[in-house]
Amino acid sequence: MSNIPTSHVARPGRTPLTQTTWRYVGGLGLVVAGAAAALAAGPELAGANLAMVFLLCVLVSAVTFGLGPALASALLAALTYNFFFLEPHYTFRITHPADLVTFLVFFAVALATGWLAGRARDNARRVAGHANATALLLEASRALARTSAPDEAAQVLADQIAAATGGRAIVLLNGDDGLRLAGAPPGLSALDAASLEAAHRTWADTGTAEVADPARAWSFAPLDGVQARVGVVGLRTTAPGDGSDRPDLIGALLEQGGVVIERALLAAAASENAALRRADQLRTGLLTAISHDFRTPLAAILGSATTLSDYGDDLKPGVRRDLLQSIQQDAQQLNKHIGALLDMSQLEGGALRPKQDWTEVREIIGSALRRLRSRLAGHRIARDFASSLSLIKADPTLLEQALLNILDNAATWAPQGSAIRIAAHEDARNVLVSIEDEGPGIPPDQLHAVFDRFHRLSPAGSGGLGLGLSITRGFIEAMGGRVAAVSPLTAAGGTRFVISLPKVVETPRGLL
């Protein structure tokens, strides 16, 4: 993380100097307090006991304030001990050689105590600081990992940096027209012009914004991903805090955040591309459909109608009837196409809101068969319905259309006089409808694609848009169900479509 330039990010908290001063004052103050207590206690407290009091002061100052204050305390304790309690009193001179030994031994012990305890304290603090930083980083990386959108990641990063520094942090990402605020503390929705200008300088590497007063202005650092710069982070410190190893921590956060945001940006761009590609595919398919599949019946209608109006009187009644019938059939074909396009646009536009209601599946099969009666007149319909079937929650209109599309397909492909078998059953979780025809079946290499839009088994001529089955799948899945195709069923062919719709299962209360 050393390559992350963070030097111009303001260090949060009090400056180290004042903090150190206070620690020394505290350490020395302890010794002064100890001396005062010893003087107050009077001559009863002497010799070894007295030394113990001073050592205690040194020890406490070491544990509380660290190595430096501890050594200072030891020195002050030795001098005080000499000044007040070694003969002659109130001088730094030592007359008795024994006292000199006592003084030296005391000084050595005080130094050793202070040094050992102070070092232990400083190490413990450092370890705790590292652990704290590690925990913050870990939490940040977890929070970042949960995000998927760039702005979401930016917000998390801003929150995490703010939490790590005790200040406020903003994240600006590169938008269509320059940097825009993507992550900010609550209540901040826009940046002032000067800050934005500073952010842009940092973004363009044309000079870092030197900050006079970190409490009033944002200081900015670039936010880099693996491949490119993704944005700028701004920091503003408001509350004092422990700034000991925060620059490293902020650097690590910036590095992590930059990578995550870059990944999110790439993913967003990719999904946008996929959506565009899909829309483009649909448009191409629709244009093909309209130019060919709509033109054919229209040509027949126009031709028949003009023939009738120009030569009506010269035509035999049979021919006239035939032309009129052709107009009727082709108009119905066009109507079906328009219906399919409407259904498709509903599915594609995300406007489909299934009106789920209690539905009896056998009833809907019946009404679909009724609507297709004339089209299915040439086929034998065989039903195999369970005598009782659970009600399900489904949209009856969508279910009927889904069934109509499959039945219409069967009517197109299965030869006249063949059987179409419709079964409705249920298992523990689903109500299942299967529709089986005796048509030629679907080639194995095309089976997976039959539910795709504009997928047609024959190049043209069968009259379908290639939308019916994809609409069926769209509608069934919108209602929480599944649809699958099985083919061939026998050596002669045959296709089976199976629709499964979930039953409403209420969890027994005892299991919750």
């Binding site: 009727q328 108009a331 109507n335 219906g339 409407l342 259904d343 509903q346 009106k355 209601d357 209690w358 539905t359 009896e360 056998r362 009833e363 809907i364 099969i365 019946g366 009404s367 679909a368 068969l369 009724r370 609507r371 009666r373 004339s374 039903r383 319905f385 009600l391 949209d395 009856p396 209109t397 279910l399 009927e400």
Partner: protein, 235 residues
């Protein structure tokens, strides 16, 4: 000279009038054209027709509003002309007092079949037929008795009430809401499951093949229709 029922067609599309006017005339009706809701409502008030076709997509007034205004002073049959995929509007119109609907685009045969049903019902209203015969079924509304092939069929009171509402509809579609309100009461308008179960039981008891009902026909997502004779409302 025979009596020609006057039919008011309220639709803003000239093409619809262009074929509907000759078709209605040829079928023995007296069609009246209206191209806006305002024009239609005026015609309705000045000279009440025997039946009305009302397009829900008029340019000058919302279809529901036009229906509401018409119903304020006109009690005769109103058939809605609605576009496919406008289920919600269709159901709202039926609940709001329309008698039936035809989806655009429609064939003239389908439209005339609906019209005939409503006009027939109108001519017999005021003197309700106590016994309705539909194929093998005989429904005695006064004695609350149903016979199938001459044999008495036992129905629960709810089942009979449901059947009676359907039969009294005289082949017009009755919405879920209307059926639930009439049979179970206004508190149960959303309890469609009651209706599904009761309809299933009625079919078991009354239909020759309950899987292919000939009389109690489902209009998916809208309601039910009681057909006197199978095949009358082929679409």
């Amino acid at each position: 000279m025979s009596f020609r029922p006057r039919i008011l067609v309220i639709d803003d599309e000239a093409q619809i009038h262009r074929f509907l006017t000759p078709a209605l005339t040829a079928s023995g009706y007296d069609p009246v054209q209206a191209h806006t809701a305002a024009e239609g409502l005026r015609a309705l008030a000045l000279n009440p027709p025997d039946a009305v076709f009302l397009d829900l997509g008029l340019p000058d007034m919302d279809g529901q509003e036009a229906l509401e205004k018409a119903r304020a002073f006109y009690a005769g049959p109103i058939i809605i002309l609605s576009a496919r995929g406008r289920e919600a509007g269709k159901i709202a119109a039926l609940d709001g007092g329309a008698d039936d609907y035809v989806e655009k685009p429609f064939g003239v045969g389908e439209l005339l079949a609906r019209l005939r049903v409503l006009l027939r019902r109108k001519s017999t209203s005021g003197d309700p037929v106590p016994v309705v015969t539909a194929g093998e079924l005989e429904v005695d509304l006064r004695l609350a008795m149903v016979r199938r092939k001459g044999e008495r069929v036992r129905l629960t009171p709810k089942e009979f009430k449901l059947l009676a509402v359907l039969v009294e509809g005289g082949e017009k579609v009755i919405t879920h809401r209307q059926l639930l309100t009439a049979v179970w009461g206004p508190a149960h308008v959303h309890d469609t499951q009651y209706l599904r179960v009761a309809i299933g039981q009625l079919r078991q008891k009354l239909e020759a093949d309950p899987a292919v009902p000939a009389h109690i026909v489902t209009e998916a997502g809208v309601g039910y229709r009681f057909l006197l004779d199978q095949g009358q409302t082929e679409t």
